[in-house]
Subunit: 250 residues, 2 copies
DNA sequence: TCAATGAAAATTACATACACTTTAGCCGCT
DNA sequence: AGCGGCTAAAGTGTATGTAATTTTCATTGA
């Protein structure tokens, strides 16, 4: 199997801790599909490929198992967890529920001046980007960042670590990762940006339950788009039902 | 610090894997408060106390950090995570939301014959226990198991692993652990058991959103009882506000 | 008295050797 | 040929030694 050539001893970004650096590299490899789902991760092979000993590799694998990205079985080591299409769709549903709670908490607890500023900036940036009726090259990537700022800031305002970690796990489900753009039309993005405005209004107005409901619907609509784009792709490919999943997990 | 005498080399229950056994022991010690929140967990001391080498101890600590029970900082090791009162109350809110989704999934997906049987059994058992107007010694413990069966079975019926793991994490927040009985009155238990009946009805009737709403309210009401009993205790103790938290975390 | 400083001690990070378990393949048997 | 058990290879689990980092604390200078 050619020593899993996708993983190279790049030295890693996080200085001073090989385990964390190794963790990032393995996560990256799993998320972008370089190692297949269900595949067994061999410690000695990984340590050779990354040019470190087995110790930090084991640490990284255990941490990734904690994130839910790997499975562990005693005396058998770690395998890449399978994420069937159902599980991926469900993850959006769970995330919708959790981010709804986050929005509620934010509305109850209020935003700091900094947080308000960040959110208002992201709203204005989105407005500007959407003024034109269509996207140019790279605009979607830009909007992805704007979107990320909005959600991250609200999550911070919820002031609850457990919630933040759970939502982060939802984001790390292979296909729902932000790097896999879930192709959207301009109209969809505009609608979602409008959602952002309304959610922010609800939070500023200190209307927790309305904020929750709006956020839930907001995230759920992403799920709907995902499902829609999947069924379309699978029809275009006039292939069997499984191909939709394969396309997306890739 | 007397070698953390609470932890003894009991051999552990899980055969064939010291790391898992060590993990159970440390978790237990953290959950029952033998090691204080914020305390630093020393590898060599733990390994001496448990009569194993540092390797399985490190593995256990890493895994527990993944569960969210410990914090990790590079070059500083692991500390017991702090759970302020706010976080504990929030955990109920999060759990309510997640179990709500679980109930919805169960209603959408339907219950297996086995699951139906288990739930109906738990409902009948609860009915019998509550026929008398008051509890005798040990009844509360029995009801705790009945309650556990109901929730566990519904969670299994949701058929989603991520959801199950997240809810499990909520349960493992120190004070919300089932071992800390949140003293309830007979009337409260009766009301909650009625909730169970209604939730089951909604699921059988395939009414997902009603099931979700009922489950959410059901779990939220536990939070309400918790907060109520806390404020009462803190009043009874005519101590300052912090004592309420201390009592419960203990 | 207090802060800065600089070893020494304590502690974690990593590497590696060895023990134990699982896996795979081979051989003999039916 | 097919099945069961044996053996070697591969792989994971544990122990321990060494390197690097943090923490402690006594010392020094203002």
């Amino acid at each position: 199997m050619a020593d899993q050539a996708v993983l190279e001893p790049t030295g890693g970004s996080r200085a001073g801790n090989r385990a964390l650096s190794v963790m990032d590299q393995i996560r990256e490899a799993v998320l972008n599909g370089s190692v297949a789902a269900g595949e067994r991760l061999n410690e000695v092979r990984l340590s050779r490929a990354l040019a470190v000993s087995r110790t930090p590799v084991r640490a990284a694998l255990q941490a990734l198992a904690g994130e839910g990205l790997l499975d562990y079985a005693p005396n058998r080591g770690f395998t890449v967890r399978e994420f069937p299409l159902d599980a991926i769709v469900d993850a959006y549903e769970i995330r919708a529920s959790l981010e709804g709670v986050a929005a509620r908490f934010a509305a109850e607890r209020g935003l700091s001046p900094d947080e308000k500023a960040t959110i208002e900036r992201s709203l204005r940036a989105g407005d500007r980007l959407l003024e034109r009726g269509s996207f140019e090259t790279g605009d979607l990537t830009i909007y992805r960042d704007i979107n990320g700022d909005f959600h991250d800031t609200l999550l911070a305002a919820a002031r609850n670590r457990m919630l933040a970690e759970m939502i982060r796990i939802c984001h790390h489900v292979p296909v729902s990762s932000s790097r896999n753009i879930v192709a959207f039309e301009h109209r969809d993005v505009r609608r979602r940006h409008d959602d952002h405005h309304r959610i922010y209004e609800a939070i500023i107005a200190r209307e927790p339950w309305r904020a929750e409901m709006l956020m839930r619907e907001h995230v759920s609509s992403v799920k709907a788009s995902l499902v829609k784009s999947m069924t379309e792709r699978s029809r275009d490919n006039d292939a069997d039902a499984t191909s939709a999943g394969r396309l997306l997990v890739k």
